[in-house]
């Protein structure tokens, strides 16, 4: 990057496409090296392109959650896991369970093989959580709402209003705490919480009603009249499209289904749903103020994620032994070159995405690309980043 680029926020949809693609890629492998690389890539991009907004701190929270999940997974494996023969690491006292609970094991031998297998599948969850966390940290939720198609806008608003209910209830709680202090009543403790809970809830509901009235009087939900027959066709198209998308998504994540069938279902679902949405959009009158543009950085971001998931999906079929390394007998997993390169390609947004707008005014360029990732960056993304 030789010239300074104008700071702007990347289209939130691009971040979500990228992150979901990486999560889908993570679901195709149990190879700890690839999973580690995926987590690393997500962390790198978050470090490079997150803002100072409150939601940007969520990546760390997701990582902590992932670590907890991994820990729980290991402990459960040791306590309840089905026995896998191999090198016994230690033996837990085994509980003899009554006859009718045959098949459930408590305690007993804990083998290295069992723990490693649990670690692999736990790490996969960590990687998926890290990808979702990255999307949360990088994409502004209210701006995401702006790019929701007009026909789905009401649903999106309901979600956003529900989300603002919590912070506003917290503000109200703070006010009531202060009020209790002013009136010389205990402001902490269970009795006080019980006394104030109804007031907080009533206040939150009242504000929601006032908000609904304000939104309505400002024209929220204005529709263009359309004939009923056309509305029914639109609803049928959208609904069947969403069902196909759901089934296709499940098939993609389920390693036992043919990826080709999954892809076909996804394509069909997307076509149906998009047609439905497009028709529904004719009813909505909404326009968008200063919409986020979709330019080449958005395309690069979405494409880098898509290429990664495509490579992983193919690799899972072509070289299952490397993508799903065996743990019994225990062997050091191999590092497949092509999927690794594809993973590193997914780091492209760290360079390709425009610098984030700075709220403090300092630092418009982001000197955060470690040289290592720069060197390993494959050719295509270097070309677009330059």
């Amino acid at each position: 990057m030789t010239t300074q680029r104008a700071a702007r926020a990347l289209h939130p949809m691009a971040w979500w496409l990228w992150a979901l693609a990486l999560a889908a890629a993570a679901s195709r492998t149990l190879n700890p090296l690839l999973l580690g690389a995926l987590i690393g890539v997500a962390a790198l991009v978050v470090a490079a392109r997150r803002t100072e907004a409150p939601w940007a701190a969520s990546f760390r929270a997701f990582l902590i959650l992932g670590t907890v999940v991994l820990g729980v997974r290991l402990v459960f494996e040791a306590l309840f896991g089905a026995p896998i023969p191999g090198t016994t690491l230690f033996t837990l006292p085994e509980l003899t369970l009554p006859e009718w609970m045959a098949g459930v094991r408590l305690g007993g031998d804990v083998t290295v093989e069992a723990l490693v297998a649990a670690f692999y599948s736990g790490l996969q969850l960590v990687a998926i959580l890290a990808c979702v966390g990255a999307a949360n940290a990088l994409a502004n939720p209210t701006r995401l709402l702006k790019s929701v198609p007009g026909a789905l806008y009401e649903v999106g608003v309901a979600v956003v209003v529900a989300l603002t209910l919590i912070p506003s209830a917290l503000t109200h709680l703070q006010l009531i705490r202060e009020a209790r202090r002013l009136r010389g009543q205990p402001s902490r403790g269970i009795a006080s919480v019980a006394r104030t809970a109804t007031a907080v809830l009533a206040g939150a509901l009242e504000r929601s009603l006032a908000l609904a009235a304000a939104m309505d009087s400002r024209g929220f939900g204005r529709l263009r009249p359309l004939p009923a027959g056309e509305r029914r066709v639109t609803a049928a198209l959208t609904l069947s499209g969403l069902v196909a998308l759901l089934v296709g998504g499940y098939a993609l994540l389920d390693a036992s289904t043919s990826p080709l069938a999954a892809a076909a279902l996804l394509a069909l679902g997307a076509t149906l749903a998009l047609t439905g949405l497009h028709r529904a959009n004719r009813r909505a009158v909404r326009t968008v103020y200063r919409p986020d543009p979709w330019r080449w950085p958005e395309t690069v971001t979405a494409a880098s994620g898509s290429i990664t998931v495509a490579v992983y999906t193919v690799a899972a079929v072509v070289m299952p032994a490397t993508m799903l390394p065996t743990t019994s007998p225990l062997a050091w997993p191999a590092l497949p070159l092509v999927p690794l390169l594809a993973t590193l390609l997914a780091a492209a947004p760290a360079l390709a995405a425009p610098p984030v707008p700075s709220t403090s005014g300092a630092g418009t360029s982001y000197p955060v690309q470690p040289p290592a990732s720069d060197e390993h960056l494959p050719e295509p993304s270097k070309a677009v980043a330059a």
Binding site: T142, A179, L182, R183, L209, A210, S217, G219, F220, T287
Partner: protein, 535 residues
């Protein structure tokens, strides 16, 4: 433009209709002012115009309301959004988005305007209401006045033909209020906007009105030209009261008009031997200190809200704290009651740090009524609120005194603004603390309630209490306060007897002082005291 035909509006469970047989016509391009006692139904009248009542409030509406020819029965509020813009009393409840700029664009997005049009109108609205510096700020971080302006900007950007405003200047300092009103007047004059505005502070708005709509307590509505209605309306700004008392014809509505009549009165007053001592004089310096701030500094992050403030409050004083929106008035009050801890320096109330006080120790030392008195009330009924205060009998007596005739089983939420303030005040006063703090107490109060409040506070001060009132209401400060403190940017810039402070500054001068300058009289009561025999 707005037409009411025999409209009767009854809320569910109400014993009497809020509006009774209202017939009213407001032609295009008029600025109509809705006046009436607290709780008389002004807000209901406004809500009925675009159908928010009864759509969102429940109840039944008989008769017909049409706006720009559209019947509100056939058009829900959203279908009227391109014609009617509404700014309700508490702007915080109406914000849909997070940032100022997005909020202004929101309504236009709903109307489906072209992006270029939206961009242009957002810039225009930002300029019109002076919000360009905060365009990317989250709405909840703005001061009350900025929020009010953002709410008005958001509605104006939709270019409605009719604008409904409920108490648009009640949260604004005098300068900001003048700006907003000037902007509105420009829209009325240049674009033919029709405005229906409910406002208690008539002194600020009556000169802009083309018509006054008077909502009587029983739900009847009459309307007429400002001069006619003001001649015998029970609510009137000081300049009108002075004009009525002096029998000036035609009745002056503005300071300018009144000054042209006031020559003889000024001469009579300045010919008096010596200006008589006003009813309330500043406390003598020997009286005891109740509370003080010593080099107190309050900082929120990097924002300095109070900057090394020194202030002493003495027995029997009524201190008005004035200043711009966001100048640090509320912070001063909050630090005196221990809700905000001073970053540096000392705050002492009765010799102790209020932050460390709790329970009875706190309530017997200092009491505060916050900006929104509803924040202080969390029970289900007026009776319960009284019973939960420090001295239930005293609270009940005080409440009946301030707001007579309220059913004690009513929910505090259903009280009018003035009655809610009365209840919060009764609850706080019943604790008997020597120091009483009031944050913007006259927001939404009509003149009679204000008079009762002033009487109560004066009696309190006369019996040894100390009262601090943070307010934008110059008439209240002139009427009530013995001492006025002006805060700007966290510093105390003026501190002195009210009479000297308010007459020295055109921004803080009450209407009577402006009319009679250079005679130093602040209120109609001052004039009456000086000239007991009418002219």
């Amino acid at each position: 433009m707005i037409r009411f035909e025999a409209v009767t509006l009854t809320y569910p469970d109400a014993s009497a209709p809020a509006l009774r047989d209202v017939s009213l016509h407001i032609p295009e391009g008029e600025l109509a002012l809705v006046v009436g006692r607290t709780g008389s139904g002004k807000s209901s009248l406004l809500r009925a115009v675009n159908g928010l009542a009864p759509t969102f409030t429940g109840g039944t509406l008989d008769g017909r309301v049409t706006v720009n020819g559209r019947d509100t029965r056939d058009h829900p509020p959203r279908e009227l959004a391109d014609v009617v813009g509404v700014v309700m009393q508490d702007p915080r409840n109406g914000f849909v988005t997070e940032l100022v700029e997005d909020e202004i664009a929101y309504g236009m997005e709903s109307l489906g305007l072209a992006p270029e049009v939206m961009r242009r109108r957002v810039e225009e609205s930002l300029d019109l209401l002076g919000l360009n510096d905060v365009r990317q700020r989250p709405l909840r971080t703005l001061s009350g006045g900025q929020q009010q302006r953002a709410a008005i900007a958001a509605v104006l950007a939709q270019h409605p033909r009719v604008l409904l405003l409920d108490e648009p200047t009640s949260a604004l300092d005098p300068a900001a209020a003048e700006e907003v009103l000037a902007a509105l007047q420009r829209l009325v004059h240049d674009l033919g906007l029709t405005v229906l505005m409910a406002e208690h502070r008539l002194e600020r708005v009556v000169q802009f009105a083309d018509r006054i709509v008077h909502v009587h307590g029983d739900g009847h509505v009459t309307d007429g030209l400002p001069v006619q209605v003001m001649a015998d309306a029970p609510v009137a700004p000081p300049v009108v009261e002075l004009g009525r008392w002096a029998r000036w014809e035609p009745l002056p509505l503005t300071v300018r008009d009144a000054r042209r009549f006031a020559g003889p009165l000024r001469a009579t007053l300045s010919a008096l031997p010596a200006s008589p001592a006003p009813a309330v004089t500043s406390a003598s310096p020997v009286s005891a200190t109740v509370a003080e701030l010593r080099k107190a500094r309050v900082q929120y992050g990097s924002h300095v809200a109070l900057n090394e403030v020194d202030l002493q409050l003495r027995t029997g004083e009524i201190v008005a704290v004035m200043g711009r929106n966001g100048a640090g008035k509320s912070t001063l009050l909050r630090s005196l009651v221990g809700l905000t801890d001073a970053t540096a320096g000392q705050v002492r109330v009765g010799g102790r740090d209020p932050v460390l006080l709790a329970g009875r120790d706190l309530t017997s030392a200092v009491g505060m009524v916050p900006q929104d008195p509803g924040d202080l009330l969390w029970n289900e009924s007026v009776r319960q609120e009284c019973e939960e205060s420090v001295d239930p009998d005293e609270a009940k007596r005080l409440f009946d005194d301030l707001a007579p005739g309220v059913d004690p089983s009513m929910h505090p939420r259903d009280l009018s603004e003035g009655q809610r303030l009365a209840l919060a005040l009764a609850v706080v006063l019943s604790a008997g603390a020597p120091l009483l703090l009031l944050d913007e107490p006259t927001r939404g109060l009509d003149y009679p309630t204000k008079h009762r409040l002033v009487g109560l506070l004066r009696r309190r001060a006369a019996s040894g209490g100390t009262i601090v009132v943070a307010t934008h209401d110059v008439e209240l400060a002139a009427d009530l306060a013995t001492r006025t403190v002006v805060i700007a940017e966290g510093d105390i810039v003026t501190d002195g007897p009210t009479r000297d402070v308010v007459t020295a500054s055109p921004q803080f001068a009450p209407q009577v002082a402006k009319v009679l300058a250079p005679v130093p009289m602040l209120t109609v009561a001052d004039v009456l005291a000086a000239l007991p025999e009418a002219l």
